[in-house]
Amino acid sequence: MTPTSTFGVNTMLSSKHFFLLPALLTLIAIIVFPLLFTIRVSFSSWDVFQSGLDYIGGKNYGRVLEDERFWQSLGRLSLLSSISVCLQYTLGFALALAVWKQVRGGRVLRVLFLIPMMTTPVVMSVIWRTVFHESLGPANDILGMFGFGAVPWLSSATGAFISVLIVEVWQWTPFMFLLLLAGLVSLPREPYLAAAIDGAGTLRTFWQVTFPLMAPITIGALIIRLIEASKIMDTVYVLTSGGPGTATETSSYYIYIRGLRDFQIGYSAALSLVYLVIMIVSLTVIAKLLLRLLVGKVG
């Protein structure tokens, strides 16, 4: 390498770094700065009566540890998101398998399946609230036509939990469907030919070929949905406001109450960061477990 060429490489490298700078600065502006600011705020008593960024040490974090309502909402969120994501995965996979092979009207069905995902959650929650209205909504009317009694959809703890679950599943199954269908379409044909030659039936082909081949996509889809499901807020806000009592209060809704309703900015920043750490740790563990369960077993 001649000195000239070395000089040229160095120039090219520094030019490259220069061109990376805008992206880097953008990253710092939209991710790093807000995160650092939130961390700083979490060590302050910023509240409705204290607007400055004072320093109160770890008091807010101490409060989080003692905040029973926060931990209960986290437990509720875990239950809600795990049930809803499992249902979304099962239904999404079934729908994706249904339209995977050429079926009449497949293209129309694919578009129809995606409609719930494309609607605004707040608007759909308002519509679902009307559907679940216990004296005027169609849900109880339909049940009544089949001889069932009125269901307290939004006024009992179990009913409200199930209602939120139904709306979540209805809204986000299409997303799961979309990811899994993309995975199915990209699967190689050879394993299926080999299975057919070996005389494997539909079920065996699914369990021995399709499901294992879909494992990486399954893990990705489950993790993406778990991340999204853990942020559930708008549906709860519109449908139940966290009630009856605290039956449907999730962590993000609770943080919203503390931060924006009560204007406890410092404390809600601490809640958000604790929640973020818990999410990162738990989702990492879940991803590893899924990897071991689905991919490791196949290998």
Partner: protein
């Protein structure tokens, strides 16, 4: 100094204009029947020139308050030549959208519309209402309660443009039906009368629950109440607990003991109120435990339920021209209590005539920011917004959310002119005006951090309503949280603020 000068100049102009008789100029193109005489009438506002100047306003989403704000902003702009920008914000975001610019020292909005109970949080950022506006014709007519609500440490800092209170609404076609009265007497051994206590309210509601008492083939129910957590349910609970916890002979605080600033929210009066609230759920329509204000308005205003209590909206809706129960409703004071907790003696006191504790609940208010460079124009706008003609116009439109707040609004003939029957109009006006005269009123907890206190209370009440905790346990937890909030805010700061509320409740203002 500049602003002090301009405000003073404006004051002189206002005083001068109030003396000028209103001309016959036609302003009906603005949708009013006629311009009414007053300090900030259409004609007086028309004489002002704010060309080239801008007024920024933040208000609630359309329609409630947001719609009249937009309407009068447009009119003000046309009359004065000012550029008026209106930002509409949903209720859940309104507090922080006002508070964050205040705290960060930004002059984001000149004029704000917001719930009056936030005065404790906003007081240090608001410009006092100049003397000229305090002495304006519109302001001189505002009732003492709402002048009091706008006043902080002896100074008016909010501009009254709405008046709210909770009262009872009931169906006269049922209560005054002789057959129904006879059957009620035969079945219960009691006369069917408008409930005088919350116990009676629950009994009547239970009797008429889940039966087709209006004969339309659909089931009717006993009571519609705002019971959804985070949807103004805290106000419903205050209405129910007030007569048990607000002793007419005990002064010095309803929510807190003003001396010690210890929470009183878990004292037996509040617990009794909550127990009766829980009991009443059995007489709610299906899904009634999840009713927000909109549902309550729809349920009573739509004829589904026999009784209700809250703001004026359900009453107005029930009496609109297209309502099937128009003029079949009447108003009455909130039910009272025959036993009232006396926190000084630690005993229940019995009252032969039930104790009433009218709840002057929060309504909408407005203010001008102390950081505004257009304070003069801001106050002129608010004075115009609430001028005599506009107030009269806005009160007729239920969705606007503007309710009587001036003495002149308690005019039976005015409401009869809207097509209301004699009894509907008379009971409405009498109920509202008598609340003004009560010596045992309850006001909202208008202190810094009010949202934290109310949010905590609503959560505790909701837990008890859902059966997650007993009434006593739920309110004990609320009291514990209130004590923690009070410690964080500082008891002295809280006491200073709360004394403004106690002054009103103890009739010292």
């Amino acid at each position: 100094m500049k602003y002090r000068f301009t405000t003073s100049a404006s004051a002189l102009a206002i005083v001068a204009s109030s003396a000028v008789p209103v001309s016959a100029q036609d302003y009906t193109r603005f949708g009013i029947e006629q311009d009414l005489p007053g300090t900030c009438s259409y004609e007086a506002t028309d004489a002002k020139d704010y060309s080239g100047r801008t007024l920024n306003i933040i208000t609630h989403a359309i329609p409630v308050i947001g719609e009249p704000t937009a309407l009068h902003a447009e009119q003000f702009a046309e009359l004065t030549g000012a550029e008026v920008n209106v930002v509409h914000v949903p209720f859940g975001d309104l507090f922080q959208r006002i508070m964050i610019p205040f705290q960060s020292g930004q002059n984001a909005y000149d004029v704000m519309f917001y719930p009056s109970l936030w005065i404790g949080d906003f007081s240090r950022f608001l410009a006092p209402v100049p003397e000229a506006y305090v002495n304006s014709t519109g302001m001189m007519d505002v009732t003492p309660s709402f002048t009091g609500v706008a006043t902080w440490n002896g100074e008016m800092i909010q501009y009254p443009m709405d008046g709210d209170r909770h009262y009872l609404k009931f169906r006269t076609d049922v209560f005054e039906n002789a057959d129904v009265q006879a059957k009620y007497l035969a079945d219960t051994g009691n006369q069917l009368t408008v409930p005088a206590t919350w116990e009676e309210y629950n009994q009547v509601a239970a009797y008429f629950n889940a039966s087709d008492w209006d004969g339309d083939g659909e089931l009717n129910y006993g009571s519609a109440e705002v019971a959804k957590r985070d949807d103004l349910m805290f106000s419903a609970f205050i209405s129910r607990a007030a007569p048990y916890a607000k002793h007419p002979d005990v002064q010095g605080g309803f929510f807190f003991d003003l001396e010690t600033m210890e929470p009183l929210i878990n004292t037996p009066g509040f617990v009794r109120g909550l127990e009766l609230f829980i009991e009443a759920q059995a007489s709610f329509p299906p899904g009634g435990t999840n009713f927000g204000l909109g549902d309550e308005i729809f349920s009573f205003g739509g004829g589904q339920t026999l009784m209700s209590y809250s703001w004026d909206d359900a009453y107005i809706q029930a009496n609109q021209e297209d309502s099937r129960i128009r003029n079949m409703v009447a108003a009455a004071p909130l039910p009272g209590a025959s036993e009232v907790w006396n926190r000084e003696t630690g005993e229940w006191d019995t009252f032969e005539t039930p104790n009433r504790a009218p709840y002057m609940t929060w309504g909408w208010s407005s203010a001008v920011s102390s950081m505004s460079e257009e304070q003069e124009m801001g106050f002129d706008f608010l004075c115009f917004f609430s001028n005599e003609a506009n107030a009269e116009h806005d009160m007729q439109i239920g969705r606007f959310g503007v309710n009587p707040y001036r003495n002149s609004h308690f005019d039976v003939d005015y409401w009869k002119g809207q097509g209301w029957a004699d009894k509907t109009a008379l009971t409405y006006v009498t109920t509202l005006s008598e609340m003004e005269e009560s010596q045992n009123r309850v006001f909202d907890l208008r202190v810094p951090g009010v949202s934290q206190f109310m949010s905590s209370m609503a959560n505790g009440v909701a837990e008890a309503m859902a059966g997650q905790k007993t009434a006593q346990d739920a309110l004990d937890d609320v009291a514990k949280e209130w004590a923690e909030i009070a410690d964080r805010i500082g008891k002295d700061r809280l006491r200073d603020a709360y004394s403004n509320v106690v002054t009103l409740e103890d009739n010292e203002g």
